[in-house]
């Protein structure tokens, strides 16, 4: 069974390794002050991790369930604010202009969906993992195994993007090449994760949110001043620079005023479809990112860690507020990046949050803090992802299906071993990344949105959905998104950027079909489900929606 798991994980990700559109051309030299700042924050995370060491599995996996709304909101936000949000979104906005805003729209709007449909019922269920929830609701080990596998695939894809971002930053700070800096970042993350478990990770995440949001926000004040703004509130001030760009006005160092083809190129960039997209690909991208957000295991698990369902709900509001703050800032980096470097291409894009301040002559302290923020973003997300993947394997594969009744200690060891295995695997793939950071992440979202989201919606909101429907829907969603990923790598137009089933936005077609397949198969097989299984689902649905127990069920128990 582990072999099957390994193959299903290896398949999508090793294919990634065949395409690599960018080179990593940034100024590689050792930078003393940034290096000291980055190392200082690492030591701090490790200390906090050590001081809050996990002793029981409940501590290790879900932080003992004692976290309030603002704390949990910050934890959601910092799980969320990965290197993709921190570096990738600014990069895409730089490269694609207005069209890149689809990432912001999708990644914030998904939380509304998550809140309305999932947050409170998941807390009422209150166990460890999403695979456990779906497996229990559908009363099926098949569903449990598929969900656990999907969790691992998502974690691996997503973590590849994070390690790419962290590698770029470490390389820039320490002046080492990309390969060694990925290994360095991975080593730090792994040590930190194994020592602390979820309690330490959650505690660190609150600190990491503070570091990353300040690191992201503070340089903006200086950037906007250097570009001619007043520096009161940068997210409300870059408008004049943006409209200047649309008229070809750039920094004096870049020529002051663009003319001819360079001017029309820049003007096009900020028009809705000027950078190559159309309304279909925009809506498909937004839809995919939204359902993906609502189906991401490592975000959903956050709702198990709160005190009660009202806290679960308000922590979404706080989480989205914190996330919104970051997304208000990303376009500023992109626009100011264009101002200083109007003609840059893909090679600059993923590094724009460091290269824009560098060109604007910000001092080494700011740059170091920015780098520390980007790394905090990467570490906190990778930590949450690896936890989710490890718990999927240790909890849902090993202790529930393969080896029922194993000791808690054994479960912890399996979780730790698997964390290391996944981490090594991710590093290998990250050494040769297949796409821009934000695009790799979007693929992980397509998987989540086409498999977990439909199964979860129907698990909670359709009592007629059963195990056969769930399996059919999930297998459809998983195989189609994997086909789309392979198609993207093989550069087949249908699955490439702007295609009907683009790997980054395939859910607009696949998810509704997955919902329909789940419902149709469930209806067709409704007479095949046993009474005991129906009783089981029934009692879970009552718990999810806080309905009174059945009179006869109470006697059976």
């Amino acid at each position: 069974m582990f072999k099957l798991l390994a193959v299903s994980v290896l398949l999508p990700t090793t294919l990634f390794a065949t395409v690599g559109p960018e080179d990593f051309s940034v100024s590689y030299s050792f930078k003393l002050i940034p290096a000291l700042i980055v190392l200082g924050t690492f030591v701090l995370y490790l200390l906090i991790g050590l001081l809050s060491r996990a002793t029981s599995p409940s501590d290790y996996w879900v932080a003992g369930r004692g976290i309030g709304p603002i704390g949990n909101g910050a934890a959601i936000a910092s799980d969320w604010m990965s290197a993709a949000s921190f570096m990738g979104v600014a990069g895409l906005l730089y490269l694609r202009g207005w069209f890149g805003l689809g990432y912001i729209l999708g990644w914030t709007g998904g939380y509304v969906l998550l809140l309305c449909l999932f947050a409170a019922p998941l807390r009422r269920f209150g166990k460890f993992t999403i695979a456990e929830f779906l497996g229990d609701r559908y009363d099926s080990h098949g569903v449990r195994l598929v969900t656990a596998t999907v969790t691992v695939i998502i974690a691996v894809t997503y973590a590849v993007a994070q390690f790419k971002g962290m590698g770029l930053v470490c390389g820039w700070v320490f002046g080492i090449d990309y390969k060694h800096s990925v290994l360095f970042a991975a080593g730090i993350t792994l040590v930190y994760l194994l020592f602390s478990g979820m309690t330490g990770v959650t505690r660190n995440q609150q600190l990491q949110y503070v570091i990353l949001i300040t690191a992201f926000a503070v340089p903006l004040w200086f950037l906007i001043r250097n570009a001619g703004g007043s520096g009161l509130f940068p997210p409300l001030e870059y408008g004049s620079i943006l409209s200047g760009l649309m008229e070809g006005k750039v920094s004096p160092t870049a020529g002051g005023q663009l003319l001819g083809e360079e001017l029309t190129g820049l003007q096009r960039l900020f028009l809705p479809w000027g950078s190559g997209g159309d309304i279909y690909s925009f809506l498909a991208l937004v839809f995919t990112l939204m359902v993906g957000t609502a189906g991401l295991p490592h975000i959903l698990v956050r709702f198990y860690t709160v005190q009660n369902e009202s806290v679960a709900r308000s922590s979404v509001v706080w989480g989205l507020f914190f996330i919104g703050l970051l997304y208000w800032a990303s376009p500023v980096y992109a626009v100011i990046g264009r101002y200083w470097n109007p003609l840059g291409g893909q090679a600059v894009a993923d590094m724009i949050i460091l290269s824009a301040p560098e060109q604007a002559q910000l001092g080494p302290i700011f740059l170091g803090y920015l780098a520390a923020g980007a790394l905090a973003a990467g570490i906190s997300t990778v930590a949450a992802l690896l936890m989710a993947a490890a718990s999927a394997v240790a909890h849902d594969w090993y202790s529930t299906v393969l080896h029922p009744g194993c000791s808690e200690k054994e479960q912890l060891i399996i979780g730790r071993v698997f964390t290391v295995v996944v981490c090594i695997f991710v590093v290998v793939v990250a050494l040769n990344p297949p796409a821009l950071i934000a695009q790799i992440v979007a693929m992980a979202f397509a998987v989540a949105g086409a498999t977990i989201f439909p199964a979860l919606v129907l698990a909670i909101w359709d009592s007629g959905s059963n195990r056969y429907g769930a399996l059919a829907g999930m297998i459809w969603g998983l195989s189609m998104t994997l086909v789309a990923m392979v198609g993207w790598m093989a550069r087949i137009p249908l699955f490439a950027e702007g295609g009907l089933l683009s790997a980054t936005s395939s859910a607009l077609v696949i998810t509704p079909l997955a919902l329909l397949i789940n419902m149709a198969v469930s209806r067709l097989t409704s007479d095949k489900v046993s009474e005991a299984c129906l009783d089981h689902s029934d009692s879970i649905l009552r718990r999810l929606h806080r309905l009174p127990e059945r009179a006869s069920a109470a006697k059976i128990d």
Binding site: R65, G239, S243, F270, V316, Y327, W461, S463, L541
Partner: protein, 115 residues
């Protein structure tokens, strides 16, 4: 067995679920309007652009001292709207649930708050 619970997002049974689903419907309707209606609106307005880049009065209007309106609406307007929608959901739901009498689980000590 008619005793079994029937849950259907489109046909909620029981007062509590009906109220909850009514709130969900309002919020998701507004959500869809912002998430998909807004880009469609920008697209419709820009259909007249002969170059096909979607230029329109939206891309020519400047607000807050320089933001092109089509850019601001997505970059900041939608984000604010989504946060407010989440707040609206928690408020509406709290109000809807307050109208129902003390629920059974508060006395039975069950529900979501233990474990």
């Amino acid at each position: 067995m008619s005793e079994r619970v029937t849950i259907n997002l489109f046909r909620p049974v029981g007062e509590r679920l009906r109220r909850e689903v009514a709130v969900i419907r309002i919020v998701l309707l507004l959500w869809a309007l912002i998430a998909f209606g807004l880009p469609l609106f920008i697209w419709l307005c820009g259909l007249g652009d002969p170059q096909g880049f979607g230029a329109s009065w939206l891309t020519r209007t400047r607000i807050f001292g320089g933001f092109p309106l089509h850019y601001w609406l997505i970059a900041q307007g939608a984000t604010i709207a989504f946060v407010l929608l989440c707040k609206l959901y928690t408020e509406l739901l709290a109000r809807a649930l307050r109208k129902i009498e003390t629920p059974w689980y508060a006395e039975a000590g069950q529900g979501g708050d233990d474990v």
